[in-house]
Subunit: 125 residues, 6 copies
């Protein structure tokens, strides 16, 4: 199995609902450093999983729709806790739509919320 | 599949038995930067794999039982080489006991012994 | 010259005023991975610049006063752009108050806002 | 499942053929920071997946055959795009030959081409 | 003293002349992960050293003139060893021209050539 | 001012004396990831601060004298706390002896003891 990963980031505000979140129930924010991994069992005619420039461009487009926003105000997330793992799925699903014709087998998205915590979501394509 | 990872560290002394270890047969030590990854196929009612604070707390408790010790003197490791990969299993198994009611599917523990070497152990839960 | 650095982090929401900030004028947020460097020309009687545990504890206390908050609502920052470099000074000045009896010569605080951007403030003590 | 990873690097020149590569069709180069991961379901008699020194030595030998070279001039790669993912397979296959008697189950090789892009190849052993 | 740093990268081919360089006398290449640090004694009216977006844009423009090229063919470097430290000065001097009206006091450019080696050049502005 | 940095590591056991050290008074150990920075105001005839291979070789030789040892048993450190900052000075002074004819102006040695703590010592040459 081959994979290619590209890294970008987004900066958002949000808050959580539920006692388990403690002080994170207050409005705060995060930088998510985002790694998108594209998986494929065989390389294409150019000897690639995906062109790194093309992959970076599409990841950037997905993150631009989320970045510099208060996620508490986004209709897509109404009533949902936008946890790191839940956002990893959102980014992966949106990226999967853009990459559905790329001949990929799977996609993994990892969001690093600090130097000591990160979360991932993996899905087939 | 979703995952959440938290990072912490421990500092220990130990020595190895066996010619393959060369100078590492002498008493020396290591900082292990430890990543614990919790895996789950679906998110819980709070949209989480596990609360990051709770995960960090339990990992810290497991590492506190090992850190600032000479592992050669610990009865649990008598007659055993406490290699990085063997310690990854020890940390994973002890953490699994603490996390057995968390609804998880698997656990991965990675111990980084330097900027150029690390080891992992993955187990179901 | 000797130095000791400890790392921690904080997660905040804020917005900026001024056209130069573009989309960052909207309410958003950031994780700041924070490095505090303590400088001293000679070591103390224990052969230390500062005990790493004590340094980490005081840095954590300073960050706890800022973390999980919307800085736009904090009276201390009313009318100010809480840029990464400006927050580096806030953290450094607050830490300097706590460390004023530690025999230090200088303090540097670096805030990493992503994997591609960070800012620092250095001051004497 | 246990794994051990060692890190090294190589520095090469090359060019790509195909419009998708844009400016990378010109002769340029790359540093690849290379992670080789050795996987095994059970530890050996020394409580190891593989001795880290031995693993590092063999990875270094494989990379020495590629490093400080213009890959466009290497007969092994005639007519091939030496993409990051294709080179990950080359390194993995060459390392697999050297490690075939080590009792391993699988091998993963990751080549980091920058702080924002990397590629991997995983194969059984 | 305040500073802001932005990170980007470039990928080049080159060779060195002189026995001290050993195998690096052959045509090879490198990825340089480049950090540009802008220093200023006081913040501007927006509470900034420099807008991070603007700094990133100018660094990217400087690197685009060097990236995806064989430096041995560039007239600017004829007869010169394009060592990491020499290239750090080239990037710093070119960036200084673009930033001369930004009210800065100094500029530092660091080029990381691998996970185990990097070089810097600092100059006043 | 120009600088070149090379990275290596060492693994040691030791203990500390003094109540401030808490559990670190017990025999334990550390991996120190060591960065040695060589500074020079002008480049040499090869356009270098120092050849990276030569610098790496000398740093490795200095660390080999300390690594895989219990520093509590080393006569050089009898009665001394081998804190991270004190060891940074030891490494810097030993490296300075080896580099005294290299035309350098200063030397900085940084020892990383974990992902959240490191210490440095800078001296002229």
């Amino acid at each position: 199995m081959f994979s290619v990963t590209v890294r970008d980031h987004m900066m958002i505000a949000h808050s959580f609902r539920g006692e388990v979140f403690g002080p994170a129930q207050r409005l705060h924010g995060a930088t998510y450093v985002v790694d998108a991994t594209f998986k494929r069992t065989a390389l294409d005619a150019d000897n690639l999983v995906v062109d790194i420039g093309r992959a970076a461009e599409q990841l950037h487009a997905v993150l631009a729709e989320l970045s510099y926003r208060n996620l508490d105000d986004e209709p897509d997330f109404a009533g949902l806790n936008t946890s790191t793992e839940a956002l990893a799925q959102v980014v992966a699903d949106r990226l999967a739509e853009r990459a559905q014709d790329w001949g990929l087998d799977a996609l993994v998205v990892t969001l690093h919320e600090s130097h000591v915590a990160w979360a991932s979501y993996e899905r087939p394509l």
